[in-house]
Symmetry: C2
Subunit: 250 residues, 2 copies
Amino acid sequence: MPRYKLIVEYDGAPFVGWQRQENGPSVQAAIEDAARALSGQTVVAHAAGRTDAGVHALAMPVHIDLCRDYPAETVRDALNHHLRPAPVAILSAQTAAPDFHARFCARARHYLYRIVNRRAPLTLDAGRAWRVPGPLDADAMNAAARRLVGRHDFSTFRAAQCQSASPVKTLSALWVEREGEEISVYARAPSFLHHQVRSMVGALVEAGLGRWTPDDVEAALKARDRRACAPVAPAHGLYFLRADYDETSA
Amino acid sequence: MPRYKLIVEYDGAPFVGWQRQENGPSVQAAIEDAARALSGQTVVAHAAGRTDAGVHALAMPVHIDLCRDYPAETVRDALNHHLRPAPVAILSAQTAAPDFHARFCARARHYLYRIVNRRAPLTLDAGRAWRVPGPLDADAMNAAARRLVGRHDFSTFRAAQCQSASPVKTLSALWVEREGEEISVYARAPSFLHHQVRSMVGALVEAGLGRWTPDDVEAALKARDRRACAPVAPAHGLYFLRADYDETSA
């Protein structure tokens, strides 16, 4: 059973999320169905991150096993053919070691959250960024972000339905960049809790609007209580950027 | 009759173009209808560039006359309110001199053409860029672009239905930038012929694919014959970027 590592881009808008569910189309089902159309077999697709409904991906690592030894380019092109017209694209495919696992071997995950800071509604970026009308201070957002970096109990920034064994996670990096009206929030960690990035972005926006100080953000973290969380940022601004692997496993 | 200068962003996908037409929704009609909802009067909107069906705008200057002296912020916010859910946004509004004319006072127009140079289909950029699967050489495209800059008879790059009095135009600048798989073609001129940018991009892509040399591009220009034109690039990759005005008229 040759194993293939795929790098996948998708527009999350029409999907109930990564994971196959009864109640609507998922990215996982789209890829598994395309792989079955190629190979005639039932295929299970594993992703580095199981994104929520509406969340996008720019370079999501995924692995699948196929019974036949197809050239990697054939896998890429055939999956893209069968994926149409779903907004899911296989950017690349390569053969992977039998013990490579897109989820369990990932040692870091990168997310981007896109905010457009302006009063006018979005047109070309509708569904692709969160519009925040009030003026945001990116320096204040960065000052608040620094309070969240490190190993902490992130219960405040964790969805009620989170299945993680522990709320303690290491946030490796969290920073904010402004370019014109566009504000990008970058987050990196070995792994995240459910809704963690969107919950943290909600707190950073409170800081950017001047409603929360960096101390308030730190107090929310230390409360270890979901009720201390700011409003969660909407899903459609969030992008799974990429995952890192050890060279031997990738 | 106070005059207002608007800066407008739109997603061209659902429109038959800028200009009001019988056969479908136009950006002009959307803005004029919103202005009538605000003011109760019939309003005519004039734009710096009359974009084709499917062409987008990031900062299109437009002017309108209103009977009442509304604060500029009210004009911006009320138009945005009445424009919903059309993908047209008034980024800013300001009062303008009575002799300001968005079209006739513009001394330069800037366009961007977005190409994504990759094999995989587009997802988030679908309808927002032209996907070219074959490898493009941006240096070759720039070498070809330099042959088109200057004052020339651009009949080769002019649509049959072009209403311009003369095919002679001055192309002030045309250049290509690559960043990863994204290739941006920038064009600037006092004014353009109908389909000129998309026709020139078609020729540059032939050069980028190695099918045309810079000499071939120059020969096509010198032919002054529409039949010498390469396939015209699709509308959905084209963006009206902005227009320049003399300081006194803006």
